[in-house]
């Protein structure tokens, strides 16, 4: 049962992060939130026993993807209307 609760709580935070990432009015912040989202997601998957996937998500989603996003935002603009 404990595992399920960890699961549900993490999932809730993940959803909050996702909503944050698409609603924050600053692209750099959104990128970072996306990184956080990925990292939490990776925890969620680790809890669910998918260690390989979690590992990949940690390196790719939370790591490289965020760097890519930040790099792109640096080369474009942080400004956004929505």
């Amino acid at each position: 049962m404990e595992r399920e609760w960890i699961d549900v709580i993490t999932l809730a935070i993940v959803i909050v992060c996702a909503i944050g990432a698409i609603n924050v009015k600053d692209l750099l912040g959104a990128s970072i939130l996306l990184g956080a989202y990925s990292f939490l997601m990776c925890i969620l998957w680790a809890v669910m026993g998918a260690v390989d996937v979690a590992f990949t998500e940690a390196t790719v989603g939370a790591g490289v993807s965020t760097v890519f996003c930040v790099a792109a935002v640096f080369h474009t603009t942080r400004r956004t209307k929505d």
Partner: protein, 278 residues
């Protein structure tokens, strides 16, 4: 656009939620996906027997469904190619003035055309523009961390048979270590470690190792990707050949992924100009 978005979302949401109730419960070991068919059971029970790899995910990834994984590598490789193709701008002539930093003092020198260029060394470092920050703490910390990251990455690659991880994760870690150098110093420092051409060739080499191994099996008279064929070549048992085949393939994946990650980063972070970076 907003209304359209909501409409689509509501429609999809209604459909999806309507269907969730038909799903088997979470964690149901008797759902068709998990038990009724023999797939899950087969892999768990037979993978070690077939390949001598205890990490079932690795075994399935690189052997049973190795064909998928080859394309996974090809996907990442084509992403590298695509970023390069879309963004890269080759500058025909260099900029008129060059910038050098005197490392011990942190003073930046601008040398216009015709001026004498200092020899590059630890004292004078070429940089791309005057404002490139210079922070010893960040730089040195990263320098300290990078070797550990790389060793860990190699471990992940090599130990993928027994623990979570494998070529892909290790490759990303290796790439990340170089990206870290590029982030903490500047892009030029990264490119010095791994040039663009090097990255491109290494990416090709990685995919080539994978697809080449697979094709070698075909040439040896077996099916594509059937590592059993390597047994004849290496004079080992077929099962061990599978084990080794997986290792070779994982190394290929790691090489390709590392190179491509770095390559994509180069292009994204400089918008294809390969000058300033972040």
């Amino acid at each position: 656009m907003k209304i359209l978005g909501w409409l689509t979302v509501l429609m999809c949401g209604a459909l999806l939620i309507f269907n969730v109730s038909e799903f088997p419960d979470m964690g149901d070991a008797n759902s068709p996906a998990n038990s009724k068919q023999n797939l899950s059971e087969y892999f768990l029970k037979k993978a070690y027997h077939d390949t001598k790899v205890p990490n079932v995910v690795t075994a399935v990834l690189a052997d049973y469904r190795g064909y998928d994984t080859m394309y996974e590598t090809a996907v990442i490789f084509s992403a590298g190619l695509a970023c390069f193709f879309l963004l890269r701008i080759f500058r025909k002539k260099g900029p008129k003035s060059r910038f050098y930093r005197h490392t011990p003092t942190g003073v930046t020198l601008r040398i216009d055309e015709g001026g004498k260029l200092p020899e590059e060394s630890d004292v004078f470092k070429r940089i791309d523009s005057i404002w490139i920050p210079h922070d010893n703490i960040v730089r040195i910390t990263c320098r300290l961390v990078v070797p550990f990251i790389q060793i860990f990455a190699l471990y992940v690659i090599a130990h993928g048979h027994y623990s979570p991880g494998g070529g892909f994760q290790g490759g990303v870690l290796l790439g990340a270590s170089i990206i870290l150098i590029a982030v903490s110093n500047n892009l030029r420092a990264g490119i010095q470690r791994m040039s663009e051409k090097g990255a491109a060739l290494m990416g090709s080499a990685g995919v080539l190792i994978y697809a080449g191994t697979a094709a070698l099996c075909l040439l040896l008279g077996s099916q594509f990707l059937n590592y059993n064929a390597l047994a004849k070549l290496l004079h080992i048992k077929p099962v061990v050949a599978r084990y080794n085949g997986i290792l070779i393939v994982e190394i290929g994946v790691a090489l390709a992924v590392m190179a491509v990650m770095v390559w994509i980063y180069y292009n994204l972070s400089s918008a294809g100009k390969h000058d300033e970076g972040l």
